[in-house]
Symmetry: C2
Subunit: 354 residues, 2 copies
């Protein structure tokens, strides 16, 4: 799928079809001054940790220019505003807020998950200590809420954000509890439970980004709600893609250890789908010994998951959610140019693995 | 100081003068149903951790009735609403929010400070693990903001809360950084820096409680701002009292180890004041070996701090802040009965140590 394929015949080419990296870069640049200003309001020590987490500095504060992530969430907020005929600037406070919430959740999730690496560098809790990383996350959380509370639409916009925050926490709680559930039997995690978790943990903030941008630009409630749902579908697709990368991704691209999720025994959709297929007893046996599986064991598990159709099933499910997101967007009276850009970004996010 | 002494001659006895425990209990009971309802909206696992933190259940969820703390913050929110002629119920969402924020901050602070005990029981991170405690704190934080965002005054009320949250984090950052500062010399923590930290860490939320209650009851901005300042002064007094308890408090009352703050080498006002007095070299030497001081060492340090006048100076400074709070309250056109109750609570909080 390319952006050209997504443009419907007859739609005026208000914006020339451009690639997702261009769109993401434009949105990042638009939001960057406000993000920098917001971080500048933090306690200097917290601001340094935030800067480190965003790839802008090293431990100690020396400037750096590491990968800051693609900035998908901030782009969705800007595009959400533009898609409802608003100026891009209207979406900027939303972009800043969701980027801050995303950074906060990475800081705290890395502590909970025991992940020592993030984007190929030490996670904040490894670089600065657990306590400081907890505190920095709290500060970013508060700053995100404050950013939205300072907009003219404060009431509704804060409620939009807190709904997402509540879901984010519920999704993370589900995910942590999945670790103690068995791989098979009546207590096993179902695909449905997995998708609810993924919608909360990943979808809620993507939906919030789109919806918040549109709300700040004055969109009616129905449009805001539909954009929220579209973003949630995108989130499930995105989380599944992440799971696929977590097993088969190239560590030099993901910045995480090869087969990391299998090594940790994470309940991801490719594995759950493989276990639901016939003849999965060797896989079940192998997984039962995670997280103490050796390299050969995790390599073998990855092969078995793929052979049982787990990877294919996961990709199919991700595609289904992308189509659902696309259908929701197609049903809204969005500005044609921004709508094309929005769907270009969605397609590209999916394309990274599927 | 008693509540009777605080009632000005000629003020109508709308509320009969009653004791602080009665007032606190009345406010706790008023807010309890809304607090229970709010916690009920959490993920069940998180709700259990919140219930444990609030003394309402044991690990595993069995009902319990441990000390829930005095509920000072929730009482201030209710009294703030009543003091500006509003119904107590108007302050309840504020009461719930500040109680949730307080619980969140205890959960996260105990992780940062490595405190294994809280009110004589295992801290949440010790009982449930660090990751779950981080997550439960995040959930309570989000719930607090949501509670305020659902009020009719959402915009201003959320800004009131986020200002306090920002200060709370700044104060905790200052406090953590104080640990690495020397006891003497140009890099030593000054009394002024200590008080700024205390106002942020403890005062901001007490001020927010009072101000939020008044704001939710429709008070004008000037009154709201003055109540915020009064609460901040109370907070500094409260933090100093806590420091005094942290050195000389009875462990069976505080639920914390005897001389705990000296053992950990915390930069508290009694110690800072003692070091500023002449002939403190023995104390300086002793403190330099914290946190590895033995029982004899911390006992000796406590004696030296008291002998150098550190305890007296701290109590005097706490009194000064209480008078400042009282003066601010006296300058506002508050409803006489609630104003008496408010000042009764303030006096009682101070009386616990000074």
């Amino acid at each position: 799928m390319t952006s050209t394929a997504l443009r419907r015949p007859g739609a005026p080419a208000v914006h020339a079809p451009i690639t997702a990296p261009h769109i993401l870069r434009r949105c990042r640049r638009l939001a960057a001054p406000a993000l920098t200003e917001a971080i500048g309001r933090l306690h200097p020590w917290i601001a340094e940790m935030a800067g480190y987490a965003l790839g802008r500095c090293e431990v100690g504060g020396a400037p750096a220019d590491h990968s800051q992530g693609k900035g998908v969430r901030q782009a969705l907020a800007v595009l959400g505003a533009e898609a409802v005929e608003g100026p891009a600037e209207a979406g900027v406070p939303g972009a800043v807020a969701v980027e801050l919430v995303h950074t906060f959740s990475l800081l705290h999730d890395d502590i909970m998950d025991g992940d020592a690496l993030r984007r190929g560098r030490l996670a904040v809790w490894k670089a600065y200590g657990t306590g400081p990383a907890v505190l920095a996350g709290d500060a970013l959380f508060a700053l995100a809420v404050e950013t939205v509370a300072l907009t003219p639409q404060a009431g509704g916009a804060v409620r939009q954000l807190t709904t997402a925050l509540g879901d984010l926490v519920r999704g993370q709680a589900d995910d942590l509890l999945f670790a103690d559930r068995p791989w098979t039997g009546p207590e096993a995690v179902s695909a449905g439970e997995y998708e609810t978790m993924a919608e909360r943990k990943t979808g809620a903030l993507l939906g919030c980004a789109l919806a918040l941008g549109a709300r700040l630009a004055g969109a009616p409630d129905g449009t805001v709600a539909a954009l929220d749902r579209a973003g949630r579908h995108l989130g499930v697709a995105f989380q599944i893609a992440d799971d696929v990368l977590g097993i088969w991704g190239d560590p030099s691209v993901t910045g995480k250890p090869v087969h990391g999720d299998l090594r940790q025994g994470k309940k991801t959709l490719p594995v759950l789908a493989a276990l639901a297929a016939p003849r999965s007893s060797e896989l079940t046996g192998l997984l039962a010994s995670a997280p103490s599986l050796d390299d050969t064991g995790v390599g073998r598990a990855a092969v078995l998951v793929e052979r049982a159709g787990g990877r294919t099933a996961a990709v199919r499910e991700a595609r289904r959610h992308l189509v659902a997101a696309d259908t929701l967007l197609a049903g809204l009276p969005l500005a044609p140019g921004p709508a094309v850009e929005l769907r270009t970004v969605l397609a590209a996010l999916a394309d990274r693995t599927i």
